[in-house]
């Protein structure tokens, strides 16, 4: 920017470096830059001196060597001959998995508790504030350990299911709760199952279509169709019919006790469950507060105005309060999602193979490449959080209320 009228050029004096607004900020920035460079140089110099003294170097080729260890919960093909990079990938996917599951469940808990906390039922409201206070004020690590302990120390071991008079039995003969996790039946896709699945997908589209149609109908003729039970019917009836028409092509692979463990079915490991549940219920308490604040942020006048127009309470909620409350709720909600992702790194306390446990744990231990592993680890989390904040910014800009 061209600045003020100044004395003619050439009369530069050294004191102007401090006294002249034009140079002053340059001076300060130069000093800051210098300090920054000096301190980085100092740290880097120490680093290289230390590494050289220890005869080490910074290299990432260890990522290509076989990891040598096994991982119990993997979403992609992996065995002990796979590389460290692949182990890291397994970890990343596991982090994303537990973060995703926890976000969903935390939202459910949070919204429920937040809404119930505003309920005019005194007892329920008090119970919910008890939940919120208890969970907010105790460290999440302790919650993870407590829930993991419940999983491992209270649930029966698989061997309890053995014998003629087993101490424990499977729920409905389908699901087994053990201290190693929960075993649920896995679907077996027979011929024709594709048709059933396709039907189901078409039904989902159908439900969306029906709801659109109902809205349009309301708008064009003023007829209000019910949406609740018809949606359910559209969702399930055709699929169930098709299931029987195709001769029940989808079977269940029911977990069965064999050898040391249950076999067959899908195993959801105890660490995953503990982490999932603990993160959800802990973060749920925070989300509940956000939800409550969001709903309370919609002024009482809005509800009154809507009721005065004759809208029933349910519609007031749906048409007036929620759309406004969501704008308040969603930004903190997204940062809670970010917190969940970051807190999922506590997986290390329960032996869940997330990125912190694989790359930042076993790989680091096995290769001794501490600096490299920790840097990669931070890079990963940084990427995730930058992505999430980018999403948040986009959202915030999209819903900003139009003002004068």
């Amino acid at each position: 920017m061209t600045t003020l009228t100044d004395p003619p050029q050439g009369s530069f004096r050294l004191s102007m470096l401090i006294n002249d607004t034009r140079y002053r900020s340059l001076t300060f920035q130069a000093i800051a830059l210098l300090l920054l460079i000096v301190s980085i140089a100092y740290l880097a110099n120490n680093l290289f001196a230390n590494l050289a003294a220890a005869g080490l170097n910074i290299a990432y080729d260890f990522l290509g060597t076989p990891a040598g260890y096994d991982i119990n919960q993997t979403l992609v093909e992996y065995n002990s001959r796979s590389t460290h990079a692949r182990a890291a990938l397994v970890g990343i996917l596991n982090t994303l998995l537990v973060a995703f599951l926890s976000c969903v469940m935390a939202t459910v808990f949070g919204v429920l508790a937040g809404v119930l906390r505003l309920s005019n039922n005194w007892l329920v409201a008090k119970l919910m504030s008890f939940y919120v206070e208890i969970f907010r004020n105790i460290p999440v690590l302790i919650w993870i350990i407590i829930i993991f302990t419940i999983m491992t120390a209270v649930m029966p071991a698989p061997r309890a299911f053995r014998g003629d008079e087993p101490e424990a039995s499977m729920l409905l003969g389908l699901v087994a709760f053990t201290n190693r996790g929960i075993y649920i039946p896995a679907p077996v896709w027979g011929p024709g199952s594709l048709v059933v699945v396709a039907t189901f997908i078409v039904s989902i589209v159908g439900v969306i279509g029906y709801r659109r149609y109902a809205t349009n109908l309301l708008y064009s003729t003023g007829k209000l169709l019910p949406t609740g039970w018809p949606s359910l019917a559209i969702l399930f009836v055709p699929t169930i019919l098709m299931f029987y028409i195709m001769g029940r092509p989808i079977g269940l692979d029911i977990p069965e006790l064999g050898g040391f463990n249950f076999r067959g079915g899908i195993q959801v490991g105890a660490p995953l469950i503990a982490l999932w549940f603990a993160l959800s219920i802990y973060t749920g308490a925070f989300i509940a507060e956000n939800v409550r604040a969001g709903i309370q942020a919609v002024s009482k006048g809005q509800t009154e105005a809507a009721s005065a127009l004759g809208l029933r309470p349910g519609r007031v909620m749906k048409l007036v309060v929620l759309p406004q409350a969501l704008r308040v709720i969603i930004p903190p909600l997204i940062s809670q999602y970010l917190n969940i992702t970051k807190n999922s790194s506590l997986a290390i306390a329960v032996g869940y193979a997330d990125i912190t446990a694989t790359l930042g744990g076993i790989t680091l231990n096995q290769t001794g490449r501490a600096i490299e592993c920790v840097l990669l680890l931070m890079l990963f989390y940084l990427t995730i959080s930058l992505l999430i904040s980018a999403v948040m910014n986009v959202y915030n800009n999209a819903v900003k209320l139009k003002e004068r």
Binding site: Y219, S220, A305, A306, A308, G310, V320, R327, K402, R404
Partner: protein, 256 residues
């Protein structure tokens, strides 16, 4: 100006009957033995010191507050805890608030069509036509696609009036509709209300705009400490108040 008021027709039909109505907030007795009959087409202005229960009274009429004793009958429907009756009364009675309470996430047009579509089940197109009609009436049809936040206070209050009118109410309640507005804007809102009055709408209006009261009211009611202390035709009320409390109040308000 009193002529203007008398020119407007008042029918003999009764619109609202309030009998021996009492209301408490906790143990605080806000409304005491209120008796009031409003005829169709009447325009009533309610005034009184702050905290005297004016807002509470008109909020009881469309069940935004519940009363504990006595009865309120609107257009022949008794206000009880029966949801049906409440719905019926609310669709007969429009209300305007001090702070407009427009829905900030909806455009002006959507604000106006929301209730007709969802409560009256009017087709959207028809609702929009009605809305445009009333927006024209309050003289802001060109703002229909803006958001409330983009309008001035006076414009917002006029939208709020239009929004109520879209439900085609037979009675309108106003709770200090101009007290949150700048002086220039007060006039435009009062003009709209006067126009409404001239069309014969039954109106109950809490306001301290004495000019408005003189011009359109059939009756002015003065409340204090939860009671109706005095009521009279505007000329008589202002020129010759009977109760000492009314006199005190008027001296304060007009001396200002």
């Amino acid at each position: 100006m009193a002529e203007a008021a008398t020119q407007m027709k008042v029918s003999d039909e009764i619109a609202i009957t309030i009998t021996k109505m009492n209301k408490w907030y906790g143990s605080f007795h806000v409304l005491r033995d209120i008796d009031l009959v409003v005829n169709r087409g009447e325009r009533i202005v309610i005034c009184g010191p702050s905290g005297s229960g004016k807002s509470t009274l008109i909020r009881c009429i469309n069940a935004l507050e519940e009363h504990q004793q006595g009865s309120i009958e609107v257009d022949g429907t008794l206000l009880s805890s029966d949801l049906k009756n409440i719905d019926k009364i609310r669709s007969e009675v429009g209300m305007c608030f001090q702070h407009f309470n427009l829905f900030p996430h909806l455009t002006i047009l959507e604000n106006c069509t929301l209730a007709p579509i969802w409560v009256r089940k009017t087709p959207k197109k028809e609702a929009e036509e009605t809305a445009m009609h009333f927006l024209e009436k309050v003289k802001i049809p060109d703002q229909a696609n803006k958001y409330p936040g983009q309008l001035s206070g006076g414009q917002q209050q006029r939208v709020a009036i239009a929004r109520s009118l879209c439900m085609r109410p037979r009675i309108m309640l106003f709770d200090e509709p101009t007290s949150a507005l700048d002086p220039e804007m007060i006039k435009e809102v009062l003009d709209t209300m006067i126009e409404l009055a001239e069309e014969g709408m039954t109106m109950l209006c809490v306001t301290h705009e004495m000019g408005f009261a003189r011009q359109v009211a059939n009756r002015v009611i003065f409340m204090d400490a939860g009671q109706i202390v005095e009521q009279n035709e505007p000329e008589a009320f202002f020129n010759n108040p009977q109760s000492p409390r009314t006199q005190l109040f008027l001296s304060q308000i007009l001396g200002h």
